[in-house]
């Protein structure tokens, strides 16, 4: 019974958490459940409230209203130094007067402690994050990646119930970032600990997290698994923020069997759907850039986008084409081949109705 209880209690539960600074609402009634040992990435543009939300979880800010539960316990009023969460800072926030071992041990030495036990834990943690050879180093003698490991070890050695990470990899170079992503994921799975990972970097969020939360203006726009979020964005904001999507605003003109016809400024588009909005509803047709292809010649048909080529970006394995539709809408198309079209010549793009999705627009 007790075991069943613990498995069903989420590691973290937020009930309409709101944070108000004077007249500005930084975090607006957030509801979120994080399961046992889940890796959740919170993503959004700067100023969307993701860092404030993380600070509320850590106890560094107090929510204006709402409840916060960690493993079923209400911790809304528990001060930062008594919470079972640990935060990993963007700038690492390592203590410059202590060496690597001293930094890792810091959290364990604050209460009466057995030195041998602390030393053992510090050693084991250093091994886990790969710092065993650097224990006597000064913080100033470490590289960015090493500092990151110290920050991680310092937090993990205190055996928190949840680890909070605030853009921990943003100061590292691209190669190191990819390696650290892999290591973070490995450590997280090895410990079975819930990680809440705040970032504005889509690649980081999508490659590490079990679920991604997209925030905008203090609110949650969508919570989904990375593949789901990528394939089926639910709001206009997510569609524009995640991946490289093309959005066409329009109204439902006709509802057919398994598809709808959307009237847009540049023409009609056909979109497959099992859940058609009512006729006249304002919608966005969303098509990923790599789902657009040059239109097959000589075949008249649906979803042909007559456009003018405005630019080409060569990215090695693929080409990104920038097209302007007749009404001025910008369209991005990603294809592997080089098109036999010059800049400012006309080109026609095409997409299959099955590769497009619908988002309800503003009423």
């Amino acid at each position: 019974m007790a075991a069943a209880m613990t498995t069903t209690t989420p590691d973290l539960e937020l009930l309409s958490i709101t944070k108000q600074f004077d007249t500005f609402t930084a975090v607006d009634s957030i509801n979120l459940k994080v399961g046992r040992g889940e890796f959740v990435a919170i993503m959004g543009p700067s100023g969307c409230g993701k860092t404030t939300l993380l600070r509320i979880l850590a106890g560094l800010e107090t929510a204006s209203s709402g409840q916060l539960y960690i493993r079923g316990k209400d911790v809304s009023d528990v001060p930062v130094n008594q919470r079972s969460t640990r935060l990993v800072w963007q700038n690492y926030a390592l203590f410059p007067h202590l060496d690597v071992a001293g930094n890792i041990a810091f959290g364990l030495t604050l209460k009466p402690h057995d030195k041998a036990v602390v030393a053992g834990k510090v050693k084991a943690m250093a091994e886990l994050v790969g710092l065993s050879d650097l224990m006597g180093r000064k913080i100033s003698q470490l590289s960015g990646g090493q500092k990151q490991r110290v920050a991680l070890a310092r937090a993990l050695v205190t055996e928190p119930e949840i680890l909070l990470l605030d853009e921990p990899l943003s100061a590292l170079d691209a190669h190191l970032r990819i390696r650290m992503q892999g290591e973070l994921r490995r450590i997280q799975q090895q410990l079975g600990m819930a990680f809440i990972y705040v970032t504005h970097n889509q690649v980081e969020a999508f490659s590490m997290a079990d679920r991604v939360v997209v925030m905008n203006k203090g609110r949650i726009e969508q919570i989904d698994a990375p593949e789901e979020m990528y394939a089926r964005p639910k709001t206009e904001f997510v569609a524009r923020f995640v991946g490289t999507n093309n959005l066409f605003a329009g109204r439902i003109q006709e509802v057919g069997q398994g598809h709808v016809i959307v009237h847009c400024a540049h023409g009609q588009l056909v979109v497959s759907t099992d859940d058609p909005p009512p006729i006249g509803a304002s919608v966005f047709v969303v098509v990923q850039a790599d789902k657009l292809t040059p239109a097959p010649t000589g075949v008249a048909g649906e979803n042909r986008l007559d456009a003018t080529l405005r630019g080409r970006e060569y990215a090695g394995s693929h080409n990104i084409y920038l097209l302007d539709l007749v009404d001025g809408t910008e369209v991005k198309m990603t294809v592997p081949q080089v098109l036999p079209v010059e800049i400012n010549q006309s080109a026609t793009a095409w997409f299959s109705p099955a590769n497009a999705s619908l988002i309800r627009g503003a009423a």
Binding site: W89, A93, H97, F106
Partner: protein
């Protein structure tokens, strides 16, 4: 390099200028030390031969040495207390936003902006009413008031370099507010605290006007030197000057050897 310096007369002239500037700065000190060991009653040439009679007079008379003793009690004590007050004040100014913060800062800085003469008169009146005038303790109190502001400024400068996340990290790891201050903020501020103490000590050591008003029969060194000067120009002054200069040199060398590597090591640490 040498070819350039040969070709460019400005480099030679620049060095000459540097030499003159240094000579101008240090000549008085050289004269002071030189004539503390000469038989001349007044500093001037020709030199009349080596003697220790002025030191002898200094030690047998005792007034100036007593005064030096007084100063060596008052200044370190005042510097220490002022630095402690300054640290906590700087911490509060750095961490908290509170009503009247700027007014408070201005109030703390006020004692260095008011002419010491006015302050001296004020202190004298106040201390006389509470029967503390004319004691070493009075000098100590007035000096604490005077030197807290510069000490505060230096420590604040150091604390401003500390990212707020450092203290937050300590709390996040379970530290109480007091533990965060003693285990993280204090070590970080240490170079600033040392600097503040030194500056406060020097201010107090040199301070004459207020000490002259409130010290009474327990004069500090500057006050005692002044009373000797008023009576007559006595070469014993050269002797006490040389002793003070010697102490300063020792302190400076000590700092270079002990403190400086520590400070440089620390400031490197944060980059």
């Amino acid at each position: 390099m040498t070819a350039i310096s040969k070709a460019n007369p400005w480099i030679f002239l620049g060095r000459l200028w540097l030499g003159i500037a240094y000579a101008f700065m240090f000549l008085p000190l050289v004269v002071l030390v030189l004539f503390s060991f000469q038989k001349n009653r007044f500093p001037g040439f020709p030199l009349q031969g080596f003697t220790l009679q002025w030191y002898d007079k200094l030690f047998s008379d005792g007034t100036l040495l007593n005064a030096l003793g007084n100063t060596m009690i008052v200044s370190p004590a005042a510097a220490t207390i002022a630095t402690v007050i300054a640290f906590f004040a700087a911490y509060a100014f750095n961490r908290f936003a509170f009503r009247g913060k700027t007014v408070f800062l201005a109030l703390v800085t006020l004692p260095i902006l008011i002419p010491p003469l006015i302050l001296g008169v004020g202190f004298l009146g106040l201390l006389a009413r509470i029967h503390l005038s004319g004691t070493l303790f009075a000098v100590f109190l007035t000096h604490v008031v005077l030197i807290t502001a510069p000490a505060l400024a230096i420590i604040q400068l150091r604390l401003a370099q500390m990212p707020a996340s450092l203290e937050e990290a300590a709390w996040d790891l379970g530290a109480t507010e007091w533990q965060a201050v003693t285990k993280v903020v204090l070590p970080f501020a240490l170079p600033g605290i040392f600097g503040a103490w030194l500056l406060a000590f020097t201010f107090s050591f040199d301070e004459f006007i207020i000490a002259w008003f409130v010290s009474g029969f327990q004069p500090t060194l500057p006050v005692a030197i002044y009373s000797v000067l008023v009576a007559a120009i006595d070469p014993s002054l050269n002797a006490i000057g040389t002793i003070v200069f010697g102490i300063s040199c020792l302190v400076l060398i000590g700092l270079e050897l002990v403190l400086l590597p520590l400070l440089v090591g620390r400031s490197k640490n944060q980059s």
